[in-house]
């Protein structure tokens, strides 16, 4: 078990820099998720930690050891790939045992270790089968078992659930989280799916275009985004962003679930400071218990999440009301958050209680 440190790490392919000098501490025993749109450099970062790509610049430490020069097999890490990458010509037992044998583990010990792991992931009766005779979920387990059996300091996972169907994915998500608790090792997990990131990670690293945008726990990431990118990337649907009328250097935003829809004539009843946008309902998507109302306002199109039970006619003139406490302000030029934390901390309990 070990922490992982990235110090000014860069990676260039040909003349293109895909990772632009990132600093990151991944604490020992954490479940860290690297998340971001495709091409943001998250997979490359993971592969540099694995040693499958060499860093162009900077330093990578696993534990207290600089590993830049070490080949993948000597870094004491294990990786689960998106396509499982099982050895198709070997049966399940040999797939799991391959890494042990390469390290010179004795035959007897191999057998004990493999059987123990197979028991944990529920593969005992499939040990003699070839990967082609297994279902997607079973292959995923073999890939996990192959990683676990080596008892690595760090587990690396590159979108391991993206090839599974939705139901199995949810199940594996829970299993991976509990596995992490059980093993207590460091997990580094790459995904483009923010839901996966938020539900599994205890530390989330949001990346964009080769840079780290924010490193935070899930709740903090949602409540206190550092910048416009994170604010829009985390949360579904994305945060509404509106230009500020008085100050052209600023844009402000609010989450669709933190706004109220009122009839045009209704007077805002609250004494709390609020902002009001006027507009017309142009469409409505029903998600289930909740619906998304698309409202054309004088400042652009806005999405508001409302209770599906509320009946709203198309073309109705409405007011969109947002409490000042739920407003985020950003510097228009840099995208940086303005006044982070000011005046919002006390509102959390209240915000949670309101629909």
């Amino acid at each position: 078990m070990a922490r992982v440190v990235l110090n000014q790490v860069t990676k260039s392919f040909a003349n293109q820099q895909v990772v632009k000098g990132i600093n990151l501490l991944i604490p020992d025993g954490s479940f860290t998720v690297l998340v971001g749109p495709s091409g943001c450099g998250k997979s490359t970062t993971l592969r540099m930690i694995a040693g499958l790509e060499s860093a162009t610049g900077g330093e990578i430490l696993i534990g207290d050891q600089t590993v830049n020069q070490l080949p993948p097999g000597k870094r004491d890490v294990a990786m689960v790939f998106q396509n499982y990458a099982l050895y198709p010509t070997m049966n399940v037992y040999d797939n799991i045992a391959y890494g042990l044998r390469n390290r010179g583990t004795s035959k007897k010990e191999c057998q004990v270790l493999v059987e123990e792991i197979a028991e944990i992931v529920g593969l005992t009766q499939y040990l003699k089968r070839k990967p082609s005779q297994l279902s997607g979920g079973q292959r995923q387990r073999v890939a996990l078992a192959r990683a676990m059996v080596k008892k690595p300091k760090v587990f690396l996972m590159d979108e391991p659930l993206s090839n599974l169907d939705a139901k199995l994915r949810n199940q594996m998500r829970v299993e991976l989280t509990s596995l992490h608790k059980q093993l207590g090792s460091t997990f580094i997990y790459v995904t483009h799916d923010q839901v996966e990131a938020m539900t599994m990670g205890d530390q989330i690293v949001v990346m964009s275009e080769g840079n780290i945008m924010q490193v935070a726990a899930p709740l903090e990431l949602y409540q206190e985004p550092d910048n416009l990118f994170v604010a829009q990337f985390i949360g579904s649907p994305a945060m509404n962003i509106v230009k500020d009328e008085e100050n052209s250097a600023v844009v402000w935003g609010f989450r669709p679930e933190k706004a109220q829809l009122l009839a045009e004539s209704a007077a805002p009843a609250s004494s709390i400071e609020q902002r009001v946008l006027r507009g017309t309902v142009i469409s409505r998507e029903i998600l289930g218990a909740e619906s998304l109302c698309h409202v054309e306002t004088e400042k652009g199109r806005i999405v508001v999440k409302v209770d599906t039970e509320i009946s709203i006619q198309m073309g109705t003139h409405v007011q969109v009301i947002v409490d000042a406490a739920n407003i985020y302000e950003f510097d228009r030029a840099t995208g940086k958050r303005i006044g982070k934390g000011v005046g919002r901390v006390g509102q959390h309990a209240l915000a949670g209680g309101m629909v």
């Binding site: 694995a50 040693g51 499958l52 080949p71 993948p72 097999g73 000597k74 890490v77 294990a78 990786m79 790939f81 998106q82 396509n83 990458a85 099982l86 050895y87 198709p88 010509t89 070997m90 391959y98 890494g99 390469n102 390290r103 192959r146 080596k150």
Partner: protein
């Protein structure tokens, strides 16, 4: 009316198919039938179709007319030796061409492709001179070594290795496998169908080869089966066709039997070159 026309046409087509098939198969059948006839029956005109009595004696005469055990052993040693050598040499080369980028790769691969195109008949003379300088003429080495590197094998294996997903290799690297070990324990097993295909091609080709052993050998101890069979003709004065055909069957039958069972593999092995 239309139905009748179709049936008639089908019948004609079946007759034609049978005729074409016979043109190619019947000579082998004739070889088989002749091999069992007696001398007087062979020299009967018009010929009989079916042997009057089955003469297994012809095979014994053919077999004992020369050191055929040695010929067969040499043929197996040569075709097998070539196959093993080609395998050992082609696997690393194909792996390097498929998985590494290195300066000069395209040049070296291009050179291999040229070797694929130019047949050995064109350069037998200088190779013979080379062999005689090394004192290897009339040894099994002179039959094996010139075919050690198979451009076709390298080409075929490279294609197979390129199809292995990168992730499988990366997984093996993370499993502490050395490059050498990845090559033999991951790549080679994954290329097994291609290896079987290539193995069949190479073995049949060299089992059948007549030209090279004819050039390189001049004593019975290193001659191969095709040479032995061709000498049957001279030994028997070119007249005892029943014995010659019996000897011929020793050479042909193993190949035809293998062809019967591994038809798909063999056809794709030979036809693959066209792709």
């Amino acid at each position: 009316m239309l139905q009748v026309g179709r049936t008639a046409w089908k019948t004609v087509e079946w007759v034609l198919l049978a005729a074409v098939g016979l043109v190619f198969v019947f000579p082998f059948l004739w070889m088989f039938l002749t091999a069992f006839k007696t001398m007087p029956e062979v020299y009967q005109f018009p010929p009989t179709w079916w042997p009057e009595s089955w003469q297994f004696e012809n095979f014994r005469i053919a077999w004992s007319s020369g050191p055929f055990v040695t010929y067969v052993m040499n043929s197996i040693l040569v075709a097998g030796g070539i196959l093993i050598l080609q395998f050992l040499i082609a696997v690393p080369a194909a792996y390097a061409f498929a998985r590494y980028r290195f300066p000069g790769r395209n040049l070296l691969f291009g050179l291999s492709l040229i070797a694929l195109m130019i047949p050995s008949q064109v350069i037998f003379l200088p190779v013979y001179v080379e062999m005689s300088h090394w004192g290897l003429v009339n040894t099994l080495w002179s039959l094996i070594l010139p075919f050690g590197a198979s451009a076709f094998g390298i080409f075929l294996l490279r294609q197979a290795f390129m199809q292995v997903p990168d992730e499988v290799i990366e997984a093996a690297r993370l499993d502490s496998a050395s490059e050498w070990k990845i090559m033999w324990t991951i790549m080679v097993p994954m290329a097994k169908p291609v290896l079987v295909t290539f193995g069949l091609f190479s073995f049949i080709y060299h089992w059948n080869d007549y030209f090279w052993p004819l050039i390189m050998t001049n004593s019975d101890s290193v001659r191969t089966l095709p040479i032995g069979i061709s000498m049957l003709k001279a030994a028997e004065g070119g007249k005892q066709w029943n014995v010659i055909m019996a000897g011929n069957m020793i050479l042909v039958l193993p190949i035809l039997v293998v062809f019967f069972f591994a038809q798909r593999h063999i056809i794709s092995a030979f036809v693959y070159q066209s792709k």
